[in-house]
Amino acid sequence: MRYTEMSDAQLWILIIEKDKAAFEQLYRRYYSPLLAYALSFRFDDEMSKDCIQDLFVKLFTSDSLTPIEYVKAYLYRALRNLLIDRSNMVMESVSLEENLTIDFLIEDIELVRLFEKEDDYLEKSRLLVKAYAQLSDNQKNAVYLYYIKEFSWDEMSVSLDINTHSCMNLVARSVAKLRKIMGTENKK
């Protein structure tokens, strides 16, 4: 079987055995979505690429990997942790919380292109993006992973580190909040 036909989990097992071709295949499969994920945290190109590089180097050189089922979710979580570590510096005079927020989902110019000549939709989409920005970090991450990355509930669970039931609640609450914010905005 060729590497391109193997599942993530199969590649993972080969990677544990230090199969470099399998490793490259996994990398090629996930470079693009992982980069998009990192960029959405508002880090620039270089920083995002560096974290991805770090992630994969650590992966291949690690001596303590075990076979896992949800490779994709694991990669996302590991990347997020790396990005968080990189940005975790606390100034005594300025208190900082973990500030990894996906608040810039999409640029306005992209919205304009998407909803060209449909002003109604364009306005709604702007409202939606603004509403999204008001969600908490966890809510944003959940919505992003579920709707845009199309994670299954099991994968959500691995990536967010909570059980599947909690994932469902989180997504449901986030969507409800979005609707609520949009509803009140609309009435203004």
Binding site: Y37, F56, T61, S87, M89, L114, F115, Y147, I148, N186
Partner: protein
């Protein structure tokens, strides 16, 4: 309401479809990053034993700074190592490459930013896994070698008894090719982390300008840079005995730090020793330090001049810094949480408050 809901649905549908597609076209840099990953993996193989080292002993090695002052030399005239170090020229730590002196005349320059130097029990040396041909060598115990690690570089050294030394930027170490059967002595200047092979019959002594550390098989970190007024020894595992020039002596227990100020042993503090050797894993752990101190460490590590204004220097910072990123990235990161501004002129950095 109905219309609203339908619109909401339509908008989200189109948006999510668009975003999903967008996720998969971020291919820029894919090949370039892959190349870097490949290089890194190759490099890591060379330093595999360094990682094993950190699993066994994450303690930092003690850095011994060896400064031989004239009066000190007089006291220890008979020691061949002392005599040898006294004769050496002052090394240029600003020169760009790592230098390994196999003899006072024979010097090997290492191009890479990190080097791995290893001595077999018989004194045969290999640098980055390439064996160096033997020069005339009869009495290897009397033969001293030196490694000079300029700013911005790092070297991993394995001594003839198997002890390993992580050598940080801006440091140098002098040691015999083969240890004698009576005592194992090395001189260090700068910062090193040592993992000393246990041998109760042959004590291991790290010599610095202002103090000696006697080791019986342990892991400890010594920070004694020339030009710093405060020197520190942190013990991770085992036990060490410190003696200074004023005949003061103390014994350290694990997770203890002792400061040596102006050649005099100071107070002992309890610390989390692993914070002090995080640098061997490419991490700098800051314990609520003024930026002036932080940037001094970075300056040394990256080998690039950083000028910090007095105001900016007073700002305090704590956290973990990943030293594997570029200095530019790091300063951008720091400036995103600290009220500083910075610029780079002629390759040197200038930091000021906003």
């Amino acid at each position: 309401m109905e219309k609203d809901y339908k619109q909401f649905q339509k908008v989200t549908e189109r948006l999510t479809t668009y975003l999903r597609i967008r996720e998969n076209v971020q291919r820029r840099g894919e090949d370039e990053v892959w190349k870097r990953i490949e290089e890194n993996i190759e490099g890591k193989k060379r330093f595999l034993f360094r990682r094993r080292l950190s699993i066994i002993s994450t303690a930092a090695a003690v850095l011994l700074l060896l400064f031989l002052s004239v009066e000190y030399l007089w006291l220890r005239d008979s020691d061949p190592l002392d005599a040898y170090v006294a004769l050496l020229d002052e090394p240029t730590l600003d020169s760009s490459q790592i230098q390994v002196y196999l003899s006072p005349e024979e010097k090997v320059m290492v191009e890479e930013n990190t080097a791995s130097v290893s001595y077999s029990p018989k004194g045969n040396v290999s640098i980055n896994q390439m064996e160096q041909s033997d020069t005339l060598s009869k009495n290897k115990e009397q033969e001293f070698n030196q490694i000079v690690v300029p700013k911005g570089k790092y070297t991993h050294l394995t001594l003839s008894d198997g002890s390993t030394v992580h050598i940080n930027s801006g440091s140098r170490v002098v040691y015999p090719r083969v240890f004698s059967s009576e005592s194992r002595e090395i001189y260090v200047e700068g910062e090193v982390c040592l993992d000393v092979t246990k041998n109760e019959n042959v004590p291991f002594i790290v010599k610095t300008a202002s103090f000696d550390v006697k080791v019986l098989g342990t892991i400890f970190n010594v920070n004694a840079y020339k030009g710093d007024s405060d020197h520190e020894v942190v013990l991770i595992e085992g036990s060490v005995r410190l003696s200074d020039q004023h005949k003061n002596r103390i014994e350290l227990r694990p997770d203890q730090l002792v400061a040596v100020n102006q050649g005099k042993i100071g107070e002992i503090k309890k610390v989390d020793a692993s914070d002090y050797i995080a640098w061997t894993n490419g991490l700098l752990v800051l314990q609520s330090e003024p930026l002036s101190k932080v940037f001094k460490k970075l300056e040394r590590f990256y080998g690039i001049s950083i000028h910090v204004s007095p105001d900016a220097g007073l700002l305090k910072m704590k956290g973990k810094i990943d030293l594997k990123q570029s200095l530019d990235d790091l300063i951008v990161l720091i400036s995103s949480s600290a009220p500083i501004r910075w610029n780079k002129t002629d390759g040197e950095y200038y930091i000021d408050v906003k």
